[in-house]
């Protein structure tokens, strides 16, 4: 992988971290606020189903995780296991796709 590509990965990870900082804060604050009076799962679903705003928010959240986590894992695999060959990047593309698929499945699960 070229130095330029490695730099793009680094910048992308920092940018996705900034998005995640916002998303995690909103996510946690909403959860704490929503369930403080004892909200049931059915009541939560009634608010999220068909709500395009929450769909967009959690789609961005999942996208940020999909980008952020595999790039971080790339360094972990190098530093802990010495895995530096191109196969590492192929594996991480797989991890990203899995994270994206599982994340969007959960998001659509509470939207549809």
């Amino acid at each position: 992988m070229s130095v330029k590509a490695q730099t793009i990965l680094w910048v992308t990870q920092r940018a996705s971290a900034a998005v995640l900082a916002l998303c995690v804060t909103v996510h946690l604050a909403t959860m704490v606020y929503a369930i403080r009076g004892g909200l049931s799962a059915a009541e939560i679903l009634s608010r999220t189903k068909g709500n395009a705003g929450w769909l967009a928010f959690y789609a961005v959240f999942v996208l940020a995780v999909t980008v952020h986590a595999p790039i971080g894992l790339r360094s972990v695999l190098l530093e802990w296991f010495g895995w530096r060959s191109a196969s590492r990047d192929v594996f991480l593309v797989g991890v990203a796709m899995l994270l994206g698929a599982l994340g969007m499945r959960a998001v659509l699960g509470v939207f549809l």
Binding site: T7, V11, L78, E79
Partner: protein, 235 residues
Amino acid sequence: MMQVRVWRGKADGAFQEFEVQRHASQTVLDVVTHIQRVLDSTLAYRFACRVGMCGSCAMTVNGVARWTCRTHVDKVVKKEQIEIAPLRNLPMIRDLVTDMSEFFDKWTKAKGRFEGARTRSDDFARVFPDSEDRKLVDAGIECIGCAVCYSSCDVVSWNPDYLGPAALNRAWTLVKDERDSKKIERLRAVAGDAGCHSCHTHMSCTERCPKQISPTAGIAGLKREVSLALFRKAL
């Protein structure tokens, strides 16, 4: 008297114990020299100036990389015991001597050589000491290449390709030198997995540098400069 454990042999070696008399204002280098001159002449170690100018006597004292010539025994001795080992992250040659080739090769890889654009027929460059860039250069320029930072860096031990704090600090002082003409080439050399982007900002280099330089700050500066070069499509 104090017990001094000194590393002997190569990586598969072991510590050997010596008893050494305590003296006032005694440095760790004095202790090593005493052992080599009086107790065991086969002990290999490296030193030159003895006054903190050359950077050749750095060793691991009680687990911490230090200049032994500028480390008083009083400051590091614990229960009348001291452990002296070679620098970490460098191949051992014998006893307390490490092979520094890799360390200096990485300075070359980081393009740590000044590349000016002027010739001897040009006038002197006028660099103002109070300019922002020159202040940044001055903050990092006093490095004497002792490898204490390199030995203290966890990223170097995890990723042997990592250029390390000293080479990156050197590159930073050149990137900020307005007379230098190879900025983009140098940024390419220090970016990516083996360069500034691998730094975890643990700051062990900054904590241990005997010259009070902060390679961490220089590496952060390189990250900024590389990102700017990327956005300007210059990388």
